[in-house]
Assembly symmetry: C2
Homo-oligomer: 465 residues x 2
């Protein structure tokens, strides 16, 4: 007798993880099928559901006045839609053969099994926490969860010193540098790479480096942290590299995240080279008809390189959730993949990228030309026109767009969307030179910076073919 | 003996019109071929060359402090690049059979013939000046040329009254309304259409209407101007419609433009239904190997409707010039067409559109669904998140994107570029739901407004197929 038959005709969908991907999936499934047809049980081990982790730096920096603004939908709101959401309940085992999961009440420790007809794995990612002496000392903070954010704010409120060190210069690192500058701290960013923002090529990262220093942030590149030094009170007092020590009243770790896939690995589900679950285009875990996975715990297909990547980003998690919820409720939707778009800012500096960097292209055997141009966000004569640098990569011979990186001020970041669509559509840079982009003096020079870059890239393709 | 042989081996390129298209063509041709190979003669009947007509409203409104900021390249700068630019010289006849043009010195009246091997027609557009009583009275102004702008500014400086009437509520009309508001005028916009911005569907134009009234602009719709009333001093004193009179110390005509193609018509060159020259993809006048035309005097192919349109816009003129200059110098380039992108603003209201309106789609036999959504420019919790409305048209059955209209505040306008690229690439709205657009809280909600619109449109397609 199947599980389903045991419960009557109503199917049960079990969701592991109550954040963007999991709860989007649950909500979408509920929109498609009412509680008479589909029971939905969701497990979340933390205190919060459906929150914007991407918003934490802006809450810490004071742009967002209170934590609850970052919660898109509360547990109560989910329950009001007939989703049986069990907070502070951690799934500790997936029994694929038995079609059930074991969950533990975090507070009481009580465990029980819940059977499923369909399973969604949305366990997210965990921050990389380097195995360094002193990393667990008071005053050292990650910024992955709302609890992390609150703990950091509590530390800032209790700390008299104004010296902050951020370890890592990727998105989280630079956004936290901005947050701490806004809080009045002297900020040092210690970065392992040659330049900050290793998601850009170093020549573009250099522009970020210079702009961050212009904002009063001390950038230390090529620096590997060896330990965190603590004072007599046990609190962190400095960050040490091989060459130097950086005094710190507070340390923020912004080193990035890894897929949280221990549960999935234990259950024998397929993981990729980056440790994320592998799915098909309908977001089903490969080889499993009734198990889906999405959000920060999966790998996604990079449509430009043709290879799988791990990208932890709320916008992907939400899309995955929509696709999973539709499919789990018997509909049809797919997630075709990503082109690797990301946008960020440090104070008024906007940083964006999509597609492949030079080293990504080399790694997958693509030959390419590059073009870098400087232009402005608006007509040069219009107030507020601000400079931006656009770098474009195009495939040799075919001229197909491979990637774009933009560093500038207001109006620079979202221009990357032009390239994101062009990458999705497989346009060549020559085709891009004719794009009919919005022009008026307050919005763009008569040649949009992306068009200027495309023209230069097209010339380079013609010369090198 | 050919003209060319008579002058030796050096070819002569003659350009009629010294503004964006003509001088871009001349400059591009010069970059490709030096003066030893190619002689370039350009005729301009006005006082200025290569100026930004699109910038005039911002000069009048005071955002741009002085006229010369709008001049991208002066006559002297062109001459320094070995372009024989003859200012205040009007071409009065094209002798296609003889391969020559007749030009008249505007000041002296002297006429002479100049032979060409290759000809570029870039005669631009002329403002529609309605044949109304009083239209030539002092105080009534067009805003097509820098001279027009200076005359308007002189009138504003000499006028004590603060009542301005703008006739027309298209791009020029709404931009001039902003300029006059900024100059401290009470502004009334008299508009023939049901709503302002007839380049939008009326439901979206309604949003512009409401926002303009919120800015203190009086909008009068469904109103045909019948005459301009003058006072005892002969100056304009009011604008009259069938139903009402609107007192006016100054009147600005912003009714639009028509292709300036009298010369071309007299020469027997092919004109389209909108009065513009017809070219091939290389911007050659159809049926003529050695004559090119571009800018505001030509019709362009609308890639969405498959029909020719007339669009006077500097960004197209510049692209045409590049293509023409490349081809006239023996290279190869094409202008594939437009998708109809335009962006504008009235104070902080941003207005954008691309592709087809409902009536455009009907006119060319396309059946479609529409979806209109409201969202915000940034994550809802991030400071400065401002509302925007996005309307999307998709073809029935295929789901192909047909058009997008956006009305909102900061961050709304240039989002239309996402749709412009998608239209160029022929994406469906279902494909658009998966676009990997830049996301971070200061730049976008986790679902970009364009994605939200695409999702709603895709559902509508699925329901109506």
């Amino acid at each position: 007798m199947s599980m389903n038959a045991a419960r009557g005709t109503r199917e049960r969908l079990v969701v592991i993880g109550g954040d963007a991907a999991g709860m989007s999936a649950a909500s979408q499934a509920r929109r498609s099928k009412g509680p008479g047809e589909l029971e939905i049980v969701a497990f979340e081990r933390g205190h919060f559901t459906s929150f914007s982790a991407c918003g934490i730096p802006y809450w810490v920096g004071g742009d967002v006045p209170e934590r609850d603004r970052l919660i898109a939908r509360t547990a109560e709101e989910h329950r009001a839609r007939d989703i049986d959401l069990r907070m502070r309940t951690e799934v500790t085992e997936i029994d694929v053969a038995g079609g059930r999961v074991r969950a533990r009440d975090v507070d009481s420790g009580a465990e029980s099994w819940t059977s499923y007809d369909k399973l969604v794995i949305a366990t997210g990612a965990r921050p990389i926490r380097p195995d360094l002496p002193g990393v667990d000392a008071p005053g050292v903070h990650g910024v992955q969860t709302l609890d992390d954010g609150q703990e950091l704010l509590d530390t800032l409120a209790a700390t008299r010193g104004r010296r902050a060190v951020v370890v890592g210069a990727g998105y989280i690192g630079v956004e936290m540098a901005e947050a701490l500058i806004k809080r009045g701290y002297e900020v040092t960013v210690v970065n392992r790479g040659r330049e900050p923002m290793s998601t850009l090529d170093p020549d573009m990262g250099r522009l970020v480096h210079e702009a961050m220093e212009g904002l009063g942030i001390t950038m230390v590149n090529d620096a590997e942290v060896t330990k965190l030094l603590t004072g007599d009170d046990g609190r962190v007092r400095a960050v040490a590299t091989e060459d130097a020590e950086f005094p710190a009243d507070v340390v923020v770790l912004g080193i990035g995240v890894r897929p949280e896939t221990g549960l999935a690995a234990d259950a024998g589900l397929p993981l990729g080279a980056h440790g994320g679950l592998l799915t098909d285009l309908a977001m089903r875990v490969r080889g499993h008809e009734n198990i889906w996975a999405g959000g920060d715990c999966v790998e996604v297909l990079d449509l430009v390189s043709g290879q799988e990547r791990h990208i932890a980003l709320g916008t992907h998690a939400n899309k995955h959730g929509q696709v999973i919820g539709t499919n789990a409720a018997g509909g049809y939707a797919t997630f075709p993949g990503v082109v690797g778009t990301a946008v960020s800012k440090v104070c008024d500096l906007e940083i964006a990228r999509t597609g492949l960097r030079e080293k990504d292209a080399r790694r997958v055997g693509l030959q390419f030309v590059t073009a870098t141009i400087e232009s402005t966000s608006r007509a040069g004569y219009y107030p507020g026109a601000s400079p931006m640098t656009v770098k474009m990569l195009a495939e040799r011979r075919t001229g197909r767009l491979l990637g774009v990186q933009i560093v500038g001020r207001e109006g620079a970041g979202k221009r990357v969307d032009i390239a994101a669509v062009a990458l999705t559509a497989g346009l060549t840079v020559e085709q891009m030179t004719a794009l009919d982009l919005g022009y008026a003096p307050p919005f763009s020079p008569v040649w949009d910076p992306v068009l200027v870059a495309a023209r230069k890239a097209a010339r380079a393709v013609a010369q090198q073919s």
